[in-house]
């Protein structure tokens, strides 16, 4: 990604931005987030298919926002996250420059978010075949089997909240689980609290999740918690139509249609 390094260097040299958020070589062959603040830092920037962390989760962080102008390396899911964040008034178009990376690893710079939105809207959010198969397999089970599956999966969770930290949409300064009056979700690792936490997370992401899998990638236990958000994506699509983050417009869960269809309300 010479283009990316070159452009990042340029931007930092002319002080067009104060920080470029990208990836660098981490340990064990993994890539990790990197914040280039000096022109020479740009040499460290890398990009390949193993750069899976969703960097959009940094743009809402105070430490980063305080730096002023930000440039961010963004793959398609990251761009979607940024659009969703912007529509929730969490990012400032004037302070954010997106260095987009297409699926063919081509650098594409957007002068504003509206331009990026046009690019992003060429692609639909689709659950990939492997995960769709997993969802269908679960849906075919009896409720008792599903219950067992999820209790078994969620029991080891010790609520490190890595899934929350990795998710760009979980930007609340104070999350429901951080409250203790009332204590909605018990602090220790307990099957009930674990179940409640994962339900809460999925419901809060309903209609907002861009299906980037950052939560699953961050989970130290490999809990398939992305299946829950994927299920929400599928449901939102099938019940409420189009599923695409938009800069201007209502979110699926903060709006309604008088003729929304349900089959369970008497």
């Amino acid at each position: 990604m010479d283009d990316l390094r070159k452009r990042a260097r340029e931007l930092l040299e002319i002080r067009a931005v104060n920080v470029v958020i990208g990836y660098e070589q981490g340990t064990s062959g993994r890539k990790r987030a990197f914040f280039a603040e000096k022109p020479e830092d740009a040499e460290k920037l890398v990009f390949d298919s193993t750069c899976i962390q969703n960097l959009a989760s940094y743009v809402t962080k105070r430490e980063i926002r305080d730096k002023g102008k930000i440039a961010i390396t963004a793959t398609l899911p990251v761009m979607r996250s940024i659009i969703q964040l912007a529509s929730e008034h969490q990012v400032d178009d004037n302070n954010l420059l997106v260095l987009g990376i297409t699926s063919e690893s081509r650098l594409i710079e957007f002068s504003n978010l509206a331009e990026m939105e046009t690019f992003v809207h060429q692609y639909q959010i689709e659950i990939d075949a492997r995960h769709r198969e997993k969802l269908e397999k679960l849906e075919k089970m009896t409720p008792a089997e599903r219950w067992k599956f999820w209790i078994d999966e969620l029991t080891p969770c010790f609520k490190c909240y890595a899934c929350r930290a990795a998710c760009p949409m979980c930007y609340c300064q104070r999350c429901t689980v951080d409250f203790n009056q009332p204590q909605w979700i018990p602090v220790p690792s307990h099957q009930l609290g674990n179940l409640e936490w994962h339900i809460m997370r999925a419901v809060h992401l309903a209609g907002r999740c861009v299906d980037c899998d950052a939560c699953y990638n961050a989970c130290p236990l490999g809990i398939p918690l992305n299946l829950l958000t994927k299920k929400m994506v599928e449901d939102a699509k099938s019940h409420f139509g189009g599923y695409q983050p938009v800069l201007n417009g209502e979110h699926l869960m903060s709006t309604y249609k008088p003729d929304d269809k349900d089959n369970f309300i008497e």
């Binding site: 307990h190 999925a202 419901v203 449901d235 019940h239 309604y256 008088p258 929304d260 008497e266």
Partner: protein
């Protein structure tokens, strides 16, 4: 389980179902006494976490009820609630929570008889399903000791 009396928590909106349930009473219609009514300003205020808490505290069934579509006192609270219920119910089902135990309904202030009927059928169906042991078992498990080893 002949002597099982289901515990049911009903989350209802102040303007329609609560008034409807009031009408059931003033009309002297008898209905099952298993239901504990919790009054909310609007169905839009009925947080899904409260439903989970009701199960955790030992409810065998839950009823959620409010104004019919287009009748919301706040114009759109029930429409918003409906979207949330659609998603929440589907997620619960996906996680194996027994959604037969959560009864959603629209009951207006004039539908005292409907309220009695819905309570009675819900109580009967929960009675048939038996106590919600799976959830109670989960909720009552002691927290394992935390060790640093």
């Amino acid at each position: 389980m002949a002597d099982f009396e289901p515990k049911i928590v009903a989350f209802v909106c102040n303007w329609c179902t609560y008034a409807g349930a009031d009408l059931t009473g003033t009309s002297r219609i008898k209905y099952a006494s298993n239901v504990r009514i919790v009054r909310f300003p609007c169905t839009g205020r009925i947080d899904y976490m409260l439903l989970l808490k009701a199960f955790a505290e030992g409810a065998d069934g839950i009823m959620v009820s409010g104004c019919h579509p287009n009748d919301c006192h706040y114009t759109s609270g029930n429409f918003h609630a409906r979207r949330r219920w659609i998603m929440f119910r589907s997620l619960c089902d996906f996680m194996g929570i027994d959604t037969r135990r959560i009864k959603f309904s629209w009951v207006s202030a004039a539908e005292g008889a409907k309220w009695a009927e819905i309570v009675n059928t819900t109580v009967a169906s929960i009675r048939e399903l038996g106590p919600y042991n799976e959830y109670k078992l989960l909720a009552n498990k002691p927290v394992k000791e935390v060790t640093n080893g």
